[in-house]
């Protein structure tokens, strides 16, 4: 598996060349949110606002009214926690094309509870006019910007940075509202998003070896969330549906799937893996995903529970599915 670095940084510079209306706004995290290359290439389209997100977002609303398309870049928590009223009143109400690129989703940072965005999907999804996206690999990071700019209103992108795997073929771009079917089967349906998709892909390969028929979906559009697209995959799950996300189990992917299941009348149990209504703390990604049970082993456990039998899958089996050389390159990100 290919691992790429600074995917957004390089892609944005190339992409922005044909979008002169795009301006980038930074709140003192220019290198940390991969807009340093943009700043160097287009200094006249780059605006520094210092550590003052509320004012930055209201300014963005003003710029958007005048025909510019501001790309806000900072850590997610400093967008939706620090400046929710500004998102609502200066941008979202008026359906203005301000695009929010929020970094450090969930447990992807050792920065601890102040830096980990664990309820961003719940909050942003609830705001009228807001589109909510979450790329899961390098291909999606590279191809999401066309959908972002085509949307006439505000968009929140739960962004990845640093070293990112390419899970999906480079010629298979992000498509708004379109879930990816990564595996087909009718015993269990697993739905994942963001960094959890890679983890689940390792599990599904082992499950198949054990004779289990697994449907695996990757979701990268949280809103608008089209249940119809997913319905066939949800209906056929003989034992049940499992969601796994790098987010609170309240308000994110697990809630989205549960809403579709409830409203459509599909008869299936939904098991939600994610942060179980808890804050996390500072630590490495693999430690945190193990501790909070959002890793491959936790997914195996959830599958066993759903089908009602043990599969004798060990950590060694799962590690065997990993490409070790790839992961030894991916270091924990510093702030």
């Amino acid at each position: 598996m290919e691992i790429l670095s600074k995917v957004h940084a390089k892609n944005l510079v190339a992409w922005a060349d044909k979008h002169p209306e795009v301006v980038v706004l930074s709140a003192d995290l220019t290198g940390s949110t991969e807009i340093d290359l943009f700043r160097d290439r287009y200094p006249e389209r780059f605006f520094s606002f210092g550590v003052a997100e509320q004012n930055m977002i209201s300014f963005a609303g003003g710029l958007a009214r005048e025909g510019y398309v501001p790309f806000i870049h900072t850590f997610s928590v400093f967008i939706y926690r620090q400046a929710l009223s500004q998102i609502v009143n200066s941008v979202a109400y008026s359906n203005l094309p301000v695009k929010f690129f929020g970094f450090l989703p969930g447990i992807t940072t050792p920065g601890g509870a102040t830096h980990q965005a664990i309820e961003d999907l719940a909050v942003m999804r609830a705001i009228p006019n807001m589109t909510v996206l979450e790329p899961g690999d390098a291909t999606e990071v590279e191809t999401i910007l066309d959908s972002v700019i085509d949307d006439p209103g505000p968009v929140y992108v739960r962004m990845l940075r640093g070293e990112i795997p390419r899970l999906f073929s480079a010629d298979d771009p992000f498509v708004l509202g379109k879930p990816r079917v990564l595996s087909e089967g009718d015993d269990v349906t697993i739905v994942t998003s963001g960094i959890c998709t890679e983890e689940a892909m390792r599990v599904t390969s082992v499950l198949k070896e054990r004779g289990l028929s697994v449907e695996h979906l990757h979701v990268s559009t949280h809103k608008p969330f089209d249940g119809q697209e997913l319905l066939p995959s949800l209906e056929k799950a003989r034992y049940g549906i499992i969601t796994m996300e790098n987010h609170s189990i309240i308000g994110g992917l697990g809630s989205e799937i549960s809403e579709v299941v409830a409203e459509s009348g599909v008869s299936a149990k939904v098991s939600r893996l994610g942060l179980k209504d808890t804050f996390a703390h500072g630590g490495g990604r693999s430690y945190l995903s193990r501790f909070y049970e959002i890793d491959a082993l936790a997914l195996v456990g959830a599958v066993e529970k759903v089908i009602g039998k043990t599969l004798e899958i060990t950590e060694a089996d799962l590690q065997g599915a990993r490409i070790e050389a790839v992961h030894s390159l991916a270091k924990e990100e510093a702030l």
Binding site: L63, Q86, N89, S94
Partner: protein, 302 residues
């Protein structure tokens, strides 16, 4: 200028009278804001701002849906302040509970019909009690306070990039200086040298809970603003010459703040009985209402 001064004075009195009329008729309302801000708004509309003719209907439109709901275009109350053109000024009123005062000002200057006020706070109307983007005279969502200055800053930044000559005027209330975002905005306006922004502040010393001094002191306002990189000019907010003169200081390298110290009971000393709770007037008895009603007698000629 003498003639113009009389005009500003006449319209200021007209704003006060219309707001009082409305408050009496509706058994309450934001009266003290008219007392304090009448000369400021009148001076802005008559002399300071370069606005084109209103593009809005004399009859304000009914509510037709919020932006993005798929029900028609975004309705901007800013159309009442004239067309959007590079050489023309823009006006942004931040404390949206001054809506009644702004509506009466629009009536005074022929930008909205008198009948528009009959729609005030009525179901299905855009003439809302707290002005929203679709309300006559409003271009932004300012109701939660402290966001208009930043939004206007974004507009001013865009206009500066494009080399537009029109200026951007913001009306602020003094309570908004208790909000951190106001200071973030001033530091940014200063950082980007947005001298196409002119801010008139109604320093009436009043807020919901009582006097600003007792709720949370904001003084010394002028030196605080200067320390953040703005230019501050202090005037008597009822002195028409001073209000007009201060506006000419815009465009000199720094964002301009005209601090208009005002009397929240000006024109209706009866209000003083209510001190220090002047934010919203609600009559407590028929007797009190009659007292205010009696003030209307003879005001037509003012």
């Amino acid at each position: 200028m003498v003639e113009e001064k009389e005009k500003i004075k006449k319209h200021a009195q007209g704003i006060r009278r219309r707001v009082l009329e409305h408050v009496v008729r509706n058994n309450g309302g934001y009266l003290s804001q008219a007392c304090s801000a009448a000369e400021i708004l009148s001076a802005l509309y008559v002399r300071v701002m370069r606005l084109g003719p209103s593009q809005g209907n004399l009859d304000p439109p009914d509510f037709s849906g919020v932006p993005g709901s798929g029900k028609g275009e975004r309705v901007s109350g800013g159309s009442y302040n004239g067309p959007i053109q590079p050489d023309l000024d823009r006006f942004f009123l931040s404390p949206a509970h001054y809506a009644l005062v702004l509506y009466t000002a629009l009536i005074e200057f022929g930008r909205m019909g008198e009948q528009g006020l009959d729609r005030f706070n009525q179901d299905g109307s855009t003439v809302e009690m707290i002005g929203a983007e679709h309300s006559p005279g409003f271009e932004l969502m300012g109701g939660c306070l402290a966001q208009t200055l930043s939004q206007a800053g974004g507009i001013a930044l865009a206009r500066k990039i494009r080399g537009e000559t029109g200026r951007n005027w913001v009306f602020l209330s003094d309570g908004e200086f208790q909000e951190g975002q106001t200071w973030e905005a001033i530091q940014t306006l200063s950082h980007y040298a947005l001298d196409n922004v002119g801010v008139y502040v109604d320093v009436n010393g009043q807020q919901c809970d009582g006097t600003t001094r007792s709720v949370m002191n904001i003084e010394p306002l002028a030196s605080r603003i200067e320390a953040f990189g703005g230019r501050a000019i202090t005037v008597d907010g009822h002195d028409i010459d001073a209000l007009v003169e201060a506006g000419s200081a815009i465009g000199q390298g720094k964002p301009l703040f005209v601090l208009c110290y005002t009397d929240p009971c000006r024109g209706f000393p009866l209000l003083e009985k209510r001190t220090p709770k002047l934010h919203y007037l609600r009559f407590t008895s028929q007797e009190e209402k009659d007292e205010y009603k009696s003030l209307l007698i003879g005001t037509e000629e003012l």
